[in-house]
């Protein structure tokens, strides 16, 4: 296999992994943009989303093997999971974060870590700790051209991620509610004075972020399997992607995710070091990026408000 083909294959693999990171990073970045707070339970919402998706999908599928119904069941399961995860995200915000909105900055952070443990341990208690397979709703035979393989699942990941990101960009930039969201992110008290219902905007932010995490969780589940701690590492990486892209910036989260995915896939072979160290390479590059641009690639260098 020629070196070029080899690297194109790495990039294809990295791109699809990165698309998932991007989807999840969006949730971190949106919440941070509005509340200046890292929602560490986000990765676990991804896990809950994957479990809901799997349960609904298996229930809908029953014994049917019709390919059309399998795809339909999959998309229905995804939508149900998005709705329920959105409700879960709103509920968590209401009980665990909202009462702490004016408290010490560390308080909601600790509350988020607590929620994260409750969700992952709760899932372990209800579902057990073993990994479950999320069966493909379609034939996942890879498509090969010029020695490069891409699976229908990878294509689905890319397509769904891009569609979700385009929809989100449209919503934030072109709708009234999106405008309210941007205003709240810019200056919360003034937005409230202008008649924006800040609480509703915050709820909506959590709903959208959680729904995107559910999609990310389901798409990743085919590859990663479904298990209670699946959100921990994926969530951490998506968080890093959000910081690299510039936390608070929506396009930044997309770029950060893709960058991290590609770094993971290409970094180790490019430097000729063992693949066991691929995370080390990816994170070392990320430190360098942060040293050069502490605010992240697309982050705004805003002064701390006191």
């Amino acid at each position: 296999m020629a070196t070029l083909t080899l690297y194109i294959q790495y990039i294809v693999n990295g791109l699809t992994l990165g698309a998932i990171y991007s989807l999840i990073a969006l949730g971190y970045t949106m919440v941070y943009g509005i509340l200046k707070f890292i929602n560490f339970a986000h990765g676990d919402i991804l896990m809950v989303g994957a479990f809901i998706g799997l349960i609904v999908y298996e229930a809908l599928l029953g014994t049917s093997t019709s390919p059309v119904w399998m795809m339909a069941a999959f998309f229905i399961a995804m939508i149900v999971s998005m709705v329920l995860s959105a409700l879960l995200g709103m509920f968590i915000e209401r009980v665990a974060y909202k009462p702490l909105r004016n408290a010490n900055r560390l308080a909601p952070l600790l509350s988020a870590i607590g929620v994260s443990f409750i969700l992952s341990n709760g899932a372990a208690w209800i579902f057990g700790t073993q990994s479950r397979r999320f069966p493909y709703p379609f034939d996942n035979t890879p498509i090969t051209f010029g020695g490069i393989s891409i699976t229908p699942h990878q294509i689905l990941m890319l397509v769904v991620s891009v569609v979700m990101m385009v929809l989100l960009a449209f919503f934030v930039n072109k709708t009234r509610m999106g405008k309210a969201m941007r205003a709240t992110s810019l200056d919360q008290p003034t937005s409230a004075l202008m008649g924006i219902n800040v609480n509703r905007v915050i709820s909506l932010t959590f709903a959208i972020g959680s729904a995107l995490a559910a999609v990310g969780g389901i798409l990743a589940a085919f590859d990663f399997r479904v298990y209670p701690s699946m959100g921990t590492m994926t969530g951490l990486k998506a968080f890093v992607a959000a910081v690299i892209g510039g936390i608070g910036s929506i396009p930044g989260a997309m770029i950060g995710g893709i960058l991290l995915g590609i770094l993971e896939a290409v970094g180790a072979p490019l430097l000729h070091i063992p693949n066991g160290l691929k995370d080390t390479v990816a994170f070392a590059v990320l430190i360098i990026v942060l040293l050069l641009r502490p605010e992240g690639i697309l982050g705004k260098n805003e002064r701390e408000k006191v």
């Binding site: 294959q9 790495y10 700790t129 990994s131 701690s229």
Partner: protein, 394 residues
């Protein structure tokens, strides 16, 4: 000054108490046996099956009237597969519960750490599944100079040697690749196999690593594909192997896969049922036709909702019976007396066949080779390496 003296005195009494406790007979009407293994987490399937098998053995013995009129009880501690948790589990079992022997730890990393402590404190440890060659090579640090560490699973040294010979001599491979996780178990097997395989004249064309818990192996597999090996050796646990098999198929890799006893866990057929066909793995040799194994499997399935025990669980079942027999012969829970009787085990007839221990506590065994057809492992036979050549034993 007087206060300091008091503290010293109290400390002295406490230490004396611990020493006295060490030699004390098992309290009450029970003999306590400890278990250390992962009961939660990604690889909990191994620990749960092993502890289930030990509990089954103990229930059978108790239903039969116990040992010397006393009941046995199993105290299972969760190591979560980590060294730190395994050591705190050990401390609880050894110092608080004062067990007379320990089954486990299940994984190699924790087993290496606990083996060291067992040798120091003089408590029998029998691992059903920790296969790293160094588990039975920990320094014997107790005052009597006796070995306290045993296992009912063959050492990796044996497994990787038979594997390399089988791949080279029987399957005729000359160019292999390997993809293994950076843990003691997988690394030990991959390195051991590579050493023997290259000594025979074969070549390892790609030796790729991953981290435990990795979910994406595409970069490694792409590199392996480029190196064009005749077959790929993946001596990992099922969670990693399932992912590797599936992603290899997605990348269009057609070279066959070879694996190790980690593959004997039936969980692999739930996780990657479409990709296990054609995998050849070296694992435990199958027992001579005996009803003990089939009885055990039936009893296990009946006790645990139709679940099938893996080979490690079978080893755990045998280890429990070996300990029970040792306690019976020793007539007490004294840890040294129990050790002497475990070491004296001779031709013990267990579910895995006849069990004998070498002087260092290793199991004396041949290795089994399995060829997976669809999702069913088909037994090829038992093999041993004699005079640098592989020999089929049965």
């Amino acid at each position: 000054m007087r206060k300091a003296a008091m503290v010293l005195l109290v400390a002295l009494f406490a230490v004396a108490g611990v020493f006295a406790g060490g030699a004390k007979e098992g309290s009450g009407d029970v003999y306590k046996i400890g278990f250390i293994g992962p009961l939660t987490g990604d690889n909990a399937n191994y620990g749960i099956r092993c502890s289930n098998a030990a509990r089954l053995a103990i229930d059978e013995i108790n239903a039969d009237g116990g040992i010397n009129g006393k009941q046995l009880t199993l105290i299972a501690e969760n190591s979560e597969g980590t060294v730190e948790k395994a050591l705190s589990s050990y401390e609880k079992l050894a110092y608080t519960d004062e067990v007379c022997a320990i089954i486990g730890p299940v994984f190699t990393g924790p087993a290496l750490a606990v083996a060291q402590r067992c040798q120091e404190d003089g408590i029998v440890m029998i691992s059903p599944s920790a296969t790293h060659k160094d588990v039975t090579a920990q320094p014997i640090a107790n005052s009597d100079g006796l070995n306290y560490v045993f296992r009912t699973v063959p050492s990796d040294a044996l497994q990787s040697e038979v594997a390399a010979h089988y791949f080279y001599e029987v399957l005729g491979y000359r160019k292999l690749a390997s993809l293994y996780a950076m843990n003691d178990y997988s690394q030990g097997l991959a390195n051991g196999m590579a050493e023997t395989f290259t000594a025979l004249g074969g070549q390892i064309v790609a030796s790729e690593t991953c981290m435990v818990g990795d979910k994406d192996f595409r970069t490694q597999l792409t590199q392996i594909k480029a190196a064009n090996p005749e077959a790929i050796y993946i001596p990992n646990y099922t969670v990693e192997d399932a992912q590797i098999l599936e992603q290899a198929a997605q990348l269009g890799i057609t070279a066959p896969f070879l694996s190790s006893d980690g593959f004997s866990d039936p969980e692999i057929y739930n996780l990657a049922p479409d990709f296990t066909d054609g995998v050849v793995y070296v694992g435990p040799a199958q027992a001579e036709a005996s009803t003990i194994l089939s009885d055990f499997q039936a009893a296990y399935a009946a006790a645990y909702n139709g679940d099938a025990p893996d080979s490690f669980a079978t080893n755990s079942y045998d280890a429990t019976y070996i300990i029970a027999a040792a306690i019976e012969r020793a007539g007490s829970a004294d840890t040294k007396a129990v050790r002497d009787e475990v070491a004296a085990t001779k031709d013990f007839l267990g579910a895995n066949g006849t069990i004998n221990f070498a002087a260092n506590g290793d199991l004396v065994a041949s290795q089994g080779v399995y060829d997976v057809e669809g999702t069913t492992p088909v037994y090829v036979g038992s093999f041993q390496v004699v005079d640098n050549h592989i020999v089929q034993v049965d």
